[in-house]
Symmetry: C2
Protein backbone atom coordinates (compact mmCIF):
# COMPACT_ATOMS: atom_id res chain seq x y z
CA UNK A 1 0.00 0.00 0.00
CA UNK A 2 1.63 3.23 -1.17
CA UNK A 3 0.35 5.32 1.73
CA UNK A 4 2.12 2.97 4.15
CA UNK A 5 5.38 3.49 2.31
CA UNK A 6 4.90 7.25 2.66
CA UNK A 7 4.26 7.24 6.41
CA UNK A 8 7.01 4.66 6.99
CA UNK A 9 9.41 7.05 5.30
CA UNK A 10 8.08 9.96 7.37
CA UNK A 11 8.71 7.99 10.58
CA UNK A 12 12.07 6.65 9.47
CA UNK A 13 13.41 10.05 8.39
CA UNK A 14 11.53 11.83 11.21
CA UNK A 15 10.25 14.32 8.68
CA UNK A 16 6.69 14.91 7.42
CA UNK A 17 7.79 17.22 4.64
CA UNK A 18 7.98 17.01 0.85
CA UNK A 19 10.51 18.70 -1.42
CA UNK A 20 8.60 20.45 -4.20
CA UNK A 21 10.54 20.65 -7.43
CA UNK A 22 8.71 23.37 -9.36
CA UNK A 23 11.82 23.97 -11.34
CA UNK A 24 11.72 26.98 -13.62
CA UNK A 25 14.92 28.43 -15.00
CA UNK A 26 14.45 31.75 -13.16
CA UNK A 27 14.88 29.86 -9.88
CA UNK A 28 18.26 28.43 -10.84
CA UNK A 29 21.45 30.00 -9.49
CA UNK A 30 23.32 32.23 -11.91
CA UNK A 31 26.09 29.65 -12.32
CA UNK A 32 23.54 27.31 -13.97
CA UNK A 33 21.55 29.94 -15.86
CA UNK A 34 24.78 31.16 -17.47
CA UNK A 35 25.25 27.71 -19.04
CA UNK A 36 22.04 28.10 -21.07
CA UNK A 37 22.59 27.34 -24.74
CA UNK A 38 20.31 29.42 -26.97
CA UNK A 39 21.10 27.24 -29.99
CA UNK A 40 19.11 24.34 -28.50
CA UNK A 41 16.89 26.19 -26.02
CA UNK A 42 14.45 23.48 -24.96
CA UNK A 43 17.08 20.75 -24.77
CA UNK A 44 19.39 23.04 -22.82
CA UNK A 45 16.60 24.03 -20.42
CA UNK A 46 15.85 20.35 -19.77
CA UNK A 47 19.51 19.63 -19.12
CA UNK A 48 19.87 22.52 -16.64
CA UNK A 49 16.69 21.43 -14.84
CA UNK A 50 18.06 17.90 -14.51
CA UNK A 51 21.35 19.21 -13.12
CA UNK A 52 19.57 21.36 -10.54
CA UNK A 53 17.00 18.71 -9.56
CA UNK A 54 19.55 15.92 -9.21
CA UNK A 55 21.73 18.11 -7.00
CA UNK A 56 18.77 18.96 -4.73
CA UNK A 57 17.77 15.29 -4.54
CA UNK A 58 21.35 14.28 -3.70
CA UNK A 59 21.42 16.94 -0.98
CA UNK A 60 18.14 15.94 0.69
CA UNK A 61 17.44 12.25 -0.04
CA UNK A 62 18.64 11.16 3.40
CA UNK A 63 16.40 13.61 5.26
CA UNK A 64 13.28 14.18 3.10
CA UNK A 65 10.87 11.29 2.37
CA UNK A 66 9.37 12.48 -0.93
CA UNK A 67 9.60 14.89 -3.82
CA UNK A 68 6.65 16.51 -5.57
CA UNK A 69 7.11 17.48 -9.20
CA UNK A 70 4.81 20.23 -10.44
CA UNK A 71 4.12 19.22 -14.02
CA UNK A 72 3.38 22.75 -15.29
CA UNK A 73 7.01 23.81 -14.85
CA UNK A 74 8.19 20.94 -17.01
CA UNK A 75 5.48 21.24 -19.67
CA UNK A 76 6.48 24.87 -20.19
CA UNK A 77 9.73 23.56 -21.67
CA UNK A 78 7.90 21.31 -24.15
CA UNK A 79 8.43 17.56 -24.66
CA UNK A 80 12.05 17.98 -23.56
CA UNK A 81 10.80 19.42 -20.29
CA UNK A 82 8.47 16.44 -19.89
CA UNK A 83 11.50 14.19 -20.40
CA UNK A 84 13.27 16.07 -17.57
CA UNK A 85 10.17 15.48 -15.40
CA UNK A 86 10.39 11.73 -16.05
CA UNK A 87 14.17 11.64 -15.57
CA UNK A 88 13.87 13.51 -12.26
CA UNK A 89 11.23 11.08 -11.00
CA UNK A 90 13.46 8.13 -11.85
CA UNK A 91 16.46 9.73 -10.19
CA UNK A 92 14.55 10.48 -6.99
CA UNK A 93 13.32 6.88 -6.79
CA UNK A 94 16.85 5.56 -7.26
CA UNK A 95 17.84 7.71 -4.30
CA UNK A 96 15.10 6.20 -2.15
CA UNK A 97 12.56 9.01 -2.28
CA UNK A 98 8.87 8.63 -3.08
CA UNK A 99 7.66 10.65 -6.05
CA UNK A 100 4.45 12.66 -6.28
CA UNK A 101 3.36 13.96 -9.67
CA UNK A 102 1.44 17.17 -9.13
CA UNK A 103 -0.50 17.15 -12.38
CA UNK A 104 -4.07 17.84 -11.17
CA UNK A 105 -5.28 15.66 -14.03
CA UNK A 106 -8.98 15.23 -14.59
CA UNK A 107 -11.17 13.86 -17.31
CA UNK A 108 -13.94 11.35 -17.83
CA UNK A 109 -14.24 7.64 -18.42
CA UNK A 110 -11.68 6.25 -20.81
CA UNK A 111 -9.70 9.51 -20.85
CA UNK A 112 -9.32 9.51 -17.06
CA UNK A 113 -8.24 5.90 -17.47
CA UNK A 114 -5.59 7.01 -19.95
CA UNK A 115 -4.20 9.54 -17.45
CA UNK A 116 -4.24 6.87 -14.73
CA UNK A 117 -2.32 4.51 -17.02
CA UNK A 118 0.14 7.27 -17.91
CA UNK A 119 1.03 8.23 -14.34
CA UNK A 120 0.11 5.33 -12.06
CA UNK A 121 -0.30 1.99 -13.79
CA UNK A 122 0.74 1.12 -17.34
CA UNK A 123 -0.16 1.54 -21.00
CA UNK A 124 -1.10 -1.40 -23.25
CA UNK A 125 0.90 -1.85 -26.46
CA UNK A 126 0.10 -3.87 -29.60
CA UNK A 127 2.46 -6.67 -28.58
CA UNK A 128 0.27 -7.37 -25.55
CA UNK A 129 2.84 -6.00 -23.10
CA UNK A 130 1.85 -3.12 -20.79
CA UNK A 131 4.58 -0.59 -20.06
CA UNK A 132 4.71 2.25 -17.55
CA UNK A 133 5.04 5.67 -19.11
CA UNK A 134 5.76 7.71 -15.95
CA UNK A 135 5.30 5.24 -13.07
CA UNK A 136 4.78 7.82 -10.33
CA UNK A 137 4.01 6.83 -6.73
CA UNK A 138 1.32 9.47 -6.20
CA UNK A 139 -0.68 11.74 -8.50
CA UNK A 140 -2.84 14.78 -7.74
CA UNK A 141 -6.32 14.72 -9.29
CA UNK A 142 -8.90 17.50 -9.78
CA UNK A 143 -12.52 16.49 -9.01
CA UNK A 144 -14.70 18.93 -10.96
CA UNK A 145 -16.10 16.15 -13.16
CA UNK A 146 -17.52 14.01 -10.35
CA UNK A 147 -17.01 10.38 -9.43
CA UNK A 148 -16.44 9.01 -12.93
CA UNK A 149 -13.62 11.51 -13.29
CA UNK A 150 -11.92 10.09 -10.21
CA UNK A 151 -12.91 6.41 -10.14
CA UNK A 152 -10.44 5.37 -12.89
CA UNK A 153 -7.62 6.83 -10.79
CA UNK A 154 -8.88 5.04 -7.67
CA UNK A 155 -8.95 1.77 -9.60
CA UNK A 156 -5.45 2.30 -10.94
CA UNK A 157 -4.25 2.84 -7.36
CA UNK A 158 -5.78 -0.48 -6.40
CA UNK A 159 -4.27 -2.33 -9.36
CA UNK A 160 -0.83 -0.78 -9.25
CA UNK A 161 -0.47 -0.14 -5.52
CA UNK A 162 -0.25 3.63 -6.01
CA UNK A 163 -1.87 6.66 -4.39
CA UNK A 164 -3.68 9.87 -5.34
CA UNK A 165 -4.46 13.16 -3.64
CA UNK A 166 -7.76 14.71 -4.76
CA UNK A 167 -8.12 18.50 -4.60
CA UNK A 168 -10.46 19.27 -1.73
CA UNK A 169 -9.58 22.68 -0.26
CA UNK A 170 -6.84 24.40 -2.22
CA UNK A 171 -4.41 27.01 -0.88
CA UNK A 172 -5.23 29.92 -3.19
CA UNK A 173 -7.13 33.08 -2.15
CA UNK A 174 -10.18 32.42 -4.35
CA UNK A 175 -10.47 28.69 -3.63
CA UNK A 176 -13.70 29.41 -1.76
CA UNK A 177 -15.54 30.65 -4.86
CA UNK A 178 -16.51 27.11 -5.70
CA UNK A 179 -15.18 25.03 -2.80
CA UNK A 180 -16.93 26.97 -0.02
CA UNK A 181 -20.38 26.99 -1.63
CA UNK A 182 -22.82 25.55 0.91
CA UNK A 183 -25.31 22.96 -0.28
CA UNK A 184 -27.46 20.74 1.90
CA UNK A 185 -25.84 22.31 4.96
CA UNK A 186 -22.27 21.43 3.95
CA UNK A 187 -19.55 23.13 1.97
CA UNK A 188 -18.50 21.70 -1.39
CA UNK A 189 -15.07 20.90 0.09
CA UNK A 190 -16.69 18.90 2.90
CA UNK A 191 -18.87 17.03 0.38
CA UNK A 192 -15.72 16.35 -1.61
CA UNK A 193 -13.74 15.13 1.43
CA UNK A 194 -16.62 12.77 2.22
CA UNK A 195 -16.46 11.35 -1.30
CA UNK A 196 -12.69 10.94 -1.01
CA UNK A 197 -13.11 9.06 2.27
CA UNK A 198 -15.70 6.81 0.67
CA UNK A 199 -13.63 6.16 -2.49
CA UNK A 200 -10.68 5.19 -0.33
CA UNK A 201 -12.44 2.74 2.00
CA UNK A 202 -11.01 -0.37 0.33
CA UNK A 203 -7.41 0.88 0.33
CA UNK A 204 -6.70 1.60 3.99
CA UNK A 205 -3.25 0.64 5.21
CA UNK A 206 -1.69 -0.17 8.51
CA UNK A 207 -1.60 3.39 9.88
CA UNK A 208 -5.36 3.70 9.33
CA UNK A 209 -4.92 5.89 6.24
CA UNK A 210 -6.08 5.24 2.71
CA UNK A 211 -3.97 5.55 -0.43
CA UNK A 212 -6.76 7.86 -1.64
CA UNK A 213 -5.98 11.23 -0.03
CA UNK A 214 -6.85 14.90 -0.26
CA UNK A 215 -5.06 18.15 -1.03
CA UNK A 216 -5.74 20.62 1.77
CA UNK A 217 -3.96 23.96 1.51
CA UNK A 218 -1.74 25.16 4.37
CA UNK A 219 -3.27 28.61 4.04
CA UNK A 220 -6.62 27.39 5.44
CA UNK A 221 -5.57 25.78 8.73
CA UNK A 222 -9.02 25.98 10.34
CA UNK A 223 -10.53 24.02 7.46
CA UNK A 224 -7.60 21.61 7.61
CA UNK A 225 -8.22 20.95 11.31
CA UNK A 226 -11.96 20.54 10.67
CA UNK A 227 -11.30 18.02 7.90
CA UNK A 228 -8.68 16.16 10.00
CA UNK A 229 -11.21 15.75 12.81
CA UNK A 230 -14.00 14.63 10.47
CA UNK A 231 -12.19 12.24 8.12
CA UNK A 232 -9.83 10.00 10.06
CA UNK A 233 -8.86 7.77 7.14
CA UNK A 234 -7.99 10.48 4.59
CA UNK A 235 -4.31 11.48 4.40
CA UNK A 236 -3.58 15.07 3.43
CA UNK A 237 -1.05 16.57 1.08
CA UNK A 238 -0.63 20.10 2.40
CA UNK A 239 0.88 22.63 -0.01
CA UNK A 240 1.38 26.30 0.76
CA UNK A 241 3.99 26.19 3.55
CA UNK A 242 6.66 28.86 3.34
CA UNK A 243 6.42 31.16 0.34
CA UNK A 244 2.58 30.98 0.25
CA UNK A 245 2.31 31.81 3.95
CA UNK A 246 1.33 28.56 5.74
CA UNK A 247 2.72 28.43 9.31
CA UNK A 248 3.78 25.29 11.18
CA UNK A 249 1.77 25.98 14.36
CA UNK A 250 -1.39 26.33 12.30
CA UNK A 251 -0.63 23.14 10.41
CA UNK A 252 -0.14 20.93 13.47
CA UNK A 253 -3.89 20.29 13.64
CA UNK A 254 -3.96 18.80 10.14
CA UNK A 255 -1.88 15.93 11.65
CA UNK A 256 -3.17 13.23 13.98
CA UNK A 257 -1.89 12.71 17.52
CA UNK A 258 0.97 10.55 16.20
CA UNK A 259 2.23 13.23 13.83
CA UNK A 260 0.92 11.24 10.87
CA UNK A 261 -1.95 11.82 8.46
CA UNK A 262 -0.38 14.72 6.62
CA UNK A 263 2.72 15.69 4.67
CA UNK A 264 3.65 19.31 4.03
CA UNK A 265 5.13 20.46 0.75
CA UNK A 266 7.45 23.41 0.24
CA UNK A 267 8.85 24.34 -3.16
CA UNK A 268 10.16 27.86 -3.60
CA UNK A 269 11.54 28.20 -0.07
CA UNK A 270 13.76 25.15 -0.68
CA UNK A 271 14.60 25.64 -4.35
CA UNK A 272 15.41 29.32 -3.91
CA UNK A 273 17.16 28.99 -0.52
CA UNK A 274 20.42 29.84 -2.33
CA UNK A 275 19.14 33.37 -2.93
CA UNK A 276 19.25 34.04 0.82
CA UNK A 277 22.42 32.07 1.60
CA UNK A 278 26.14 32.14 0.93
CA UNK A 279 26.18 28.34 0.68
CA UNK A 280 26.19 26.52 -2.68
CA UNK A 281 22.61 26.05 -3.92
CA UNK A 282 22.23 22.37 -3.02
CA UNK A 283 23.62 22.88 0.47
CA UNK A 284 21.36 25.91 0.93
CA UNK A 285 18.39 23.71 0.04
CA UNK A 286 19.50 21.06 2.54
CA UNK A 287 19.86 23.64 5.31
CA UNK A 288 16.39 25.01 4.59
CA UNK A 289 14.98 21.45 4.48
CA UNK A 290 16.46 20.80 7.91
CA UNK A 291 15.07 24.09 9.23
CA UNK A 292 11.63 23.21 7.83
CA UNK A 293 11.77 19.72 9.35
CA UNK A 294 12.69 21.10 12.76
CA UNK A 295 10.02 23.76 12.48
CA UNK A 296 7.34 21.15 11.72
CA UNK A 297 8.55 18.69 14.38
CA UNK A 298 8.69 21.53 16.91
CA UNK A 299 5.12 22.56 16.14
CA UNK A 300 3.92 18.95 16.35
CA UNK A 301 5.69 18.44 19.70
CA UNK A 302 4.19 21.67 21.05
CA UNK A 303 0.72 20.51 20.00
CA UNK A 304 1.33 17.09 21.54
CA UNK A 305 1.08 15.44 18.14
CA UNK A 306 4.40 13.69 17.72
CA UNK A 307 5.18 10.01 18.34
CA UNK A 308 8.31 9.45 16.23
Amino acid sequence: MMIDRLFEAVIQKRNPSVLGLDTRLEYLPQELQSQFDAKAPFESAAELIRTFNYALIDATADIVPAVKLQSAYYEMYGPQGVQAFLDTARYAKQKGMLVMADCKRNDIGSTAQAYAMAYLSSTPFPDGIARSAFDMDFLTVSPYLGVDGVQPFVQACEQAGKGIFVLVKTSNPSSGQLQDIVAQGKTVYTHMAGLVAQWGQTQIGRYGYSSIGAVVGATYPAQGAELRAAFASVPFLVPGYGAQGGKSDDLALTFDERGLGAVVNASRSLMCAHQKSDAPYAQAAREEALRMRDDLLGALAKANRLSY
Copy 2:
Protein backbone atom coordinates in the same frame (compact mmCIF):
# COMPACT_ATOMS: atom_id res chain seq x y z
CA MET B 1 -9.22 37.32 -31.84
CA MET B 2 -8.98 33.53 -31.87
CA ILE B 3 -12.72 32.95 -31.52
CA ASP B 4 -13.28 34.94 -34.74
CA ARG B 5 -10.85 32.69 -36.57
CA LEU B 6 -12.80 29.68 -35.33
CA PHE B 7 -16.22 30.91 -36.47
CA GLU B 8 -14.77 32.23 -39.76
CA ALA B 9 -13.50 28.73 -40.43
CA VAL B 10 -16.88 27.24 -39.47
CA ILE B 11 -18.62 29.54 -41.95
CA GLN B 12 -16.04 29.07 -44.68
CA LYS B 13 -16.04 25.28 -44.46
CA ARG B 14 -19.78 25.19 -43.64
CA ASN B 15 -19.04 22.86 -40.77
CA PRO B 16 -19.35 23.44 -37.02
CA SER B 17 -17.53 20.26 -36.11
CA VAL B 18 -14.16 19.40 -34.63
CA LEU B 19 -12.06 16.32 -35.32
CA GLY B 20 -11.02 14.84 -32.00
CA LEU B 21 -7.68 13.04 -32.15
CA ASP B 22 -7.73 10.90 -29.01
CA THR B 23 -5.25 8.60 -30.64
CA ARG B 24 -4.55 5.40 -28.77
CA LEU B 25 -2.90 2.49 -30.51
CA GLU B 26 -5.96 0.25 -30.07
CA TYR B 27 -7.87 2.58 -32.40
CA LEU B 28 -5.37 2.22 -35.24
CA PRO B 29 -6.09 -0.10 -38.16
CA GLN B 30 -4.31 -3.43 -38.10
CA GLU B 31 -2.02 -2.37 -40.95
CA LEU B 32 -0.51 0.27 -38.64
CA GLN B 33 -0.60 -1.73 -35.40
CA SER B 34 1.35 -4.50 -37.12
CA GLN B 35 4.22 -2.07 -37.71
CA PHE B 36 4.74 -1.65 -33.95
CA ASP B 37 8.38 -2.14 -32.97
CA ALA B 38 8.71 -3.64 -29.48
CA LYS B 39 12.43 -2.81 -29.39
CA ALA B 40 11.65 0.93 -29.10
CA PRO B 41 8.07 0.83 -27.82
CA PHE B 42 7.44 4.46 -26.91
CA GLU B 43 9.24 5.85 -29.94
CA SER B 44 7.42 3.42 -32.20
CA ALA B 45 4.05 4.29 -30.64
CA ALA B 46 4.72 7.99 -31.25
CA GLU B 47 5.65 7.31 -34.87
CA LEU B 48 2.49 5.28 -35.53
CA ILE B 49 0.35 7.97 -33.89
CA ARG B 50 1.93 10.61 -36.13
CA THR B 51 1.29 8.50 -39.23
CA PHE B 52 -2.36 7.99 -38.30
CA ASN B 53 -2.98 11.59 -37.24
CA TYR B 54 -1.32 13.12 -40.29
CA ALA B 55 -3.38 10.90 -42.58
CA LEU B 56 -6.63 11.92 -40.85
CA ILE B 57 -5.65 15.58 -41.03
CA ASP B 58 -4.79 15.25 -44.74
CA ALA B 59 -8.16 13.59 -45.33
CA THR B 60 -10.25 16.22 -43.52
CA ALA B 61 -8.39 19.55 -43.56
CA ASP B 62 -10.50 20.91 -46.41
CA ILE B 63 -13.80 20.13 -44.70
CA VAL B 64 -13.21 20.34 -40.90
CA PRO B 65 -12.22 23.64 -39.27
CA ALA B 66 -10.36 22.36 -36.19
CA VAL B 67 -8.78 19.39 -34.47
CA LYS B 68 -8.90 18.71 -30.74
CA LEU B 69 -6.03 16.74 -29.24
CA GLN B 70 -6.83 14.93 -26.01
CA SER B 71 -3.59 15.17 -24.08
CA ALA B 72 -4.16 12.03 -21.96
CA TYR B 73 -3.77 9.76 -24.99
CA TYR B 74 -0.38 11.26 -25.78
CA GLU B 75 0.88 11.39 -22.18
CA MET B 76 0.19 7.66 -21.87
CA TYR B 77 3.05 7.13 -24.33
CA GLY B 78 5.47 9.21 -22.24
CA PRO B 79 7.59 12.15 -23.42
CA GLN B 80 7.68 10.61 -26.91
CA GLY B 81 3.88 10.70 -26.93
CA VAL B 82 3.98 14.35 -25.89
CA GLN B 83 6.31 14.98 -28.84
CA ALA B 84 3.71 13.36 -31.13
CA PHE B 85 1.07 15.68 -29.60
CA LEU B 86 3.21 18.71 -30.49
CA ASP B 87 4.06 17.41 -33.95
CA THR B 88 0.39 16.73 -34.70
CA ALA B 89 -0.57 20.25 -33.62
CA ARG B 90 2.06 21.72 -35.92
CA TYR B 91 0.99 19.54 -38.83
CA ALA B 92 -2.68 20.48 -38.41
CA LYS B 93 -1.81 24.18 -38.38
CA GLN B 94 0.27 23.81 -41.54
CA LYS B 95 -2.79 22.28 -43.17
CA GLY B 96 -4.92 25.27 -42.18
CA MET B 97 -6.77 23.78 -39.22
CA LEU B 98 -7.12 25.39 -35.80
CA VAL B 99 -5.81 23.33 -32.90
CA MET B 100 -7.47 22.80 -29.53
CA ALA B 101 -5.45 21.23 -26.74
CA ASP B 102 -7.84 19.30 -24.52
CA CYS B 103 -5.68 19.27 -21.39
CA LYS B 104 -8.16 20.41 -18.70
CA ARG B 105 -5.24 22.07 -16.96
CA ASN B 106 -5.79 23.78 -13.64
CA ASP B 107 -3.62 25.16 -10.90
CA ILE B 108 -3.08 28.35 -8.96
CA GLY B 109 -1.19 31.58 -9.41
CA SER B 110 2.24 31.16 -10.88
CA THR B 111 1.63 27.49 -11.71
CA ALA B 112 -1.49 28.31 -13.73
CA GLN B 113 0.66 30.94 -15.43
CA ALA B 114 3.21 28.26 -16.28
CA TYR B 115 0.51 26.13 -17.93
CA ALA B 116 -0.75 29.19 -19.80
CA MET B 117 2.77 29.90 -21.03
CA ALA B 118 3.24 26.27 -22.03
CA TYR B 119 0.10 25.98 -24.15
CA LEU B 120 -1.00 29.48 -25.13
CA SER B 121 1.68 32.15 -24.87
CA SER B 122 5.41 31.58 -24.39
CA THR B 123 8.07 30.63 -21.87
CA PRO B 124 10.86 33.01 -20.82
CA PHE B 125 14.45 31.78 -21.20
CA PRO B 126 17.69 33.06 -19.61
CA ASP B 127 18.73 34.85 -22.81
CA GLY B 128 15.69 37.11 -22.49
CA ILE B 129 13.88 35.50 -25.43
CA ALA B 130 10.45 33.97 -24.88
CA ARG B 131 9.69 30.84 -26.90
CA SER B 132 6.43 28.94 -27.40
CA ALA B 133 6.50 25.39 -26.10
CA PHE B 134 3.23 24.11 -27.59
CA ASP B 135 1.60 27.22 -29.13
CA MET B 136 -1.96 25.87 -29.25
CA ASP B 137 -4.89 27.98 -30.48
CA PHE B 138 -7.29 26.89 -27.72
CA LEU B 139 -6.88 25.09 -24.39
CA THR B 140 -9.45 23.49 -22.10
CA VAL B 141 -9.26 24.53 -18.43
CA SER B 142 -10.80 23.01 -15.29
CA PRO B 143 -12.22 25.54 -12.79
CA TYR B 144 -12.26 23.76 -9.40
CA LEU B 145 -9.71 26.22 -7.96
CA GLY B 146 -11.73 29.39 -8.55
CA VAL B 147 -10.89 32.61 -10.34
CA ASP B 148 -7.15 32.69 -9.61
CA GLY B 149 -6.93 29.27 -11.21
CA VAL B 150 -8.44 30.62 -14.43
CA GLN B 151 -7.34 34.27 -14.57
CA PRO B 152 -3.76 33.47 -15.73
CA PHE B 153 -5.22 31.59 -18.71
CA VAL B 154 -7.58 34.49 -19.48
CA GLN B 155 -4.64 36.90 -19.41
CA ALA B 156 -2.56 34.67 -21.67
CA CYS B 157 -5.45 34.64 -24.16
CA GLU B 158 -5.44 38.42 -24.14
CA GLN B 159 -1.68 38.68 -24.58
CA ALA B 160 -1.26 35.97 -27.18
CA GLY B 161 -4.60 36.22 -29.00
CA LYS B 162 -5.62 32.70 -27.97
CA GLY B 163 -8.75 31.10 -26.52
CA ILE B 164 -9.83 28.76 -23.73
CA PHE B 165 -12.85 26.62 -22.98
CA VAL B 166 -13.59 26.29 -19.26
CA LEU B 167 -15.37 23.14 -18.03
CA VAL B 168 -18.91 24.16 -17.11
CA LYS B 169 -21.22 21.18 -17.65
CA THR B 170 -19.34 18.06 -18.67
CA SER B 171 -20.74 15.14 -20.66
CA ASN B 172 -20.19 12.30 -18.18
CA PRO B 173 -22.98 10.57 -16.19
CA SER B 174 -21.82 11.82 -12.77
CA SER B 175 -21.04 15.39 -13.82
CA GLY B 176 -23.98 16.53 -11.69
CA GLN B 177 -22.42 15.39 -8.42
CA LEU B 178 -20.60 18.67 -8.13
CA GLN B 179 -21.82 20.70 -11.10
CA ASP B 180 -25.56 20.41 -10.34
CA ILE B 181 -25.30 21.37 -6.67
CA VAL B 182 -27.70 24.27 -6.11
CA ALA B 183 -26.46 27.23 -4.10
CA GLN B 184 -28.16 30.61 -3.82
CA GLY B 185 -30.86 29.38 -6.17
CA LYS B 186 -28.48 28.48 -8.99
CA THR B 187 -26.56 25.36 -9.99
CA VAL B 188 -22.78 25.33 -9.76
CA TYR B 189 -22.59 25.03 -13.55
CA THR B 190 -24.73 28.17 -13.95
CA HIS B 191 -22.55 30.04 -11.45
CA MET B 192 -19.55 28.86 -13.43
CA ALA B 193 -20.99 29.92 -16.78
CA GLY B 194 -21.68 33.36 -15.29
CA LEU B 195 -18.05 33.64 -14.23
CA VAL B 196 -16.89 32.55 -17.68
CA ALA B 197 -19.09 35.23 -19.28
CA GLN B 198 -17.66 37.83 -16.92
CA TRP B 199 -14.03 36.77 -17.44
CA GLY B 200 -14.51 36.98 -21.21
CA GLN B 201 -16.11 40.43 -21.38
CA THR B 202 -12.96 42.15 -22.67
CA GLN B 203 -12.28 39.62 -25.41
CA ILE B 204 -15.47 39.65 -27.48
CA GLY B 205 -15.01 39.43 -31.22
CA ARG B 206 -17.00 40.35 -34.26
CA TYR B 207 -19.55 37.55 -34.01
CA GLY B 208 -20.43 38.62 -30.46
CA TYR B 209 -18.53 35.73 -28.89
CA SER B 210 -15.62 35.86 -26.50
CA SER B 211 -12.38 33.93 -26.80
CA ILE B 212 -13.19 32.71 -23.27
CA GLY B 213 -15.65 29.86 -23.80
CA ALA B 214 -17.22 26.92 -22.00
CA VAL B 215 -17.27 23.15 -22.33
CA VAL B 216 -20.89 21.97 -22.39
CA GLY B 217 -21.41 18.26 -22.92
CA ALA B 218 -23.61 17.05 -25.78
CA THR B 219 -25.22 14.54 -23.44
CA TYR B 220 -27.02 17.33 -21.51
CA PRO B 221 -28.87 19.17 -24.30
CA ALA B 222 -31.45 20.80 -22.01
CA GLN B 223 -28.68 22.37 -19.94
CA GLY B 224 -26.89 23.36 -23.15
CA ALA B 225 -29.99 25.14 -24.43
CA GLU B 226 -30.49 26.83 -21.06
CA LEU B 227 -26.90 28.08 -21.06
CA ARG B 228 -27.09 29.20 -24.71
CA ALA B 229 -30.16 31.29 -23.91
CA ALA B 230 -28.62 32.78 -20.75
CA PHE B 231 -25.05 33.56 -21.87
CA ALA B 232 -25.06 35.07 -25.35
CA SER B 233 -21.34 35.89 -25.45
CA VAL B 234 -19.97 32.52 -24.34
CA PRO B 235 -19.00 30.10 -27.13
CA PHE B 236 -19.38 26.41 -26.41
CA LEU B 237 -17.14 23.48 -27.13
CA VAL B 238 -19.55 20.53 -27.17
CA PRO B 239 -18.00 17.09 -26.72
CA GLY B 240 -19.96 13.87 -26.54
CA TYR B 241 -21.45 13.63 -30.05
CA GLY B 242 -21.46 10.16 -31.56
CA ALA B 243 -19.89 7.46 -29.41
CA GLN B 244 -21.00 9.14 -26.15
CA GLY B 245 -24.59 9.48 -27.36
CA GLY B 246 -25.15 13.18 -28.14
CA LYS B 247 -27.68 13.66 -30.97
CA SER B 248 -27.68 16.47 -33.54
CA ASP B 249 -31.33 17.50 -33.06
CA ASP B 250 -30.74 17.92 -29.35
CA LEU B 251 -27.60 19.94 -29.98
CA ALA B 252 -29.16 22.48 -32.32
CA LEU B 253 -30.29 24.58 -29.36
CA THR B 254 -26.73 25.02 -28.13
CA PHE B 255 -26.19 27.09 -31.32
CA ASP B 256 -27.52 30.58 -31.96
CA GLU B 257 -29.93 31.44 -34.79
CA ARG B 258 -26.99 31.85 -37.21
CA GLY B 259 -25.63 28.37 -36.51
CA LEU B 260 -22.73 29.89 -34.58
CA GLY B 261 -21.83 29.92 -30.89
CA ALA B 262 -20.91 26.24 -30.65
CA VAL B 263 -18.62 23.65 -32.18
CA VAL B 264 -19.21 19.94 -31.75
CA ASN B 265 -16.39 17.47 -31.25
CA ALA B 266 -16.37 13.82 -32.23
CA SER B 267 -13.39 11.58 -31.66
CA ARG B 268 -13.97 7.84 -31.67
CA SER B 269 -16.69 7.90 -34.36
CA LEU B 270 -14.21 9.53 -36.76
CA MET B 271 -10.99 7.82 -35.71
CA CYS B 272 -12.59 4.38 -35.67
CA ALA B 273 -14.77 4.83 -38.76
CA HIS B 274 -12.51 2.31 -40.52
CA GLN B 275 -13.82 -0.43 -38.23
CA LYS B 276 -17.27 -0.11 -39.84
CA SER B 277 -16.11 0.55 -43.39
CA ASP B 278 -14.35 -1.15 -46.27
CA ALA B 279 -12.59 2.08 -47.18
CA PRO B 280 -8.99 2.83 -46.16
CA TYR B 281 -8.90 4.38 -42.67
CA ALA B 282 -8.33 7.98 -43.69
CA GLN B 283 -11.07 7.86 -46.31
CA ALA B 284 -13.42 6.23 -43.81
CA ALA B 285 -12.74 9.13 -41.42
CA ARG B 286 -13.45 11.64 -44.19
CA GLU B 287 -16.73 9.96 -45.07
CA GLU B 288 -17.81 9.96 -41.43
CA ALA B 289 -16.74 13.63 -41.08
CA LEU B 290 -18.93 14.49 -44.07
CA ARG B 291 -21.84 12.50 -42.61
CA MET B 292 -21.42 14.30 -39.28
CA ARG B 293 -21.25 17.70 -40.98
CA ASP B 294 -24.43 16.99 -42.95
CA ASP B 295 -26.13 15.65 -39.84
CA LEU B 296 -25.31 18.83 -37.88
CA LEU B 297 -26.21 21.20 -40.74
CA GLY B 298 -29.46 19.31 -41.27
CA ALA B 299 -30.38 19.62 -37.61
CA LEU B 300 -29.52 23.33 -37.62
CA ALA B 301 -31.60 23.93 -40.75
CA LYS B 302 -34.53 22.04 -39.25
CA ALA B 303 -34.31 24.17 -36.10
CA ASN B 304 -34.05 27.34 -38.21
CA ARG B 305 -30.57 28.01 -36.90
CA LEU B 306 -28.41 28.12 -40.00
CA SER B 307 -27.22 31.21 -41.90
CA TYR B 308 -24.17 29.88 -43.77
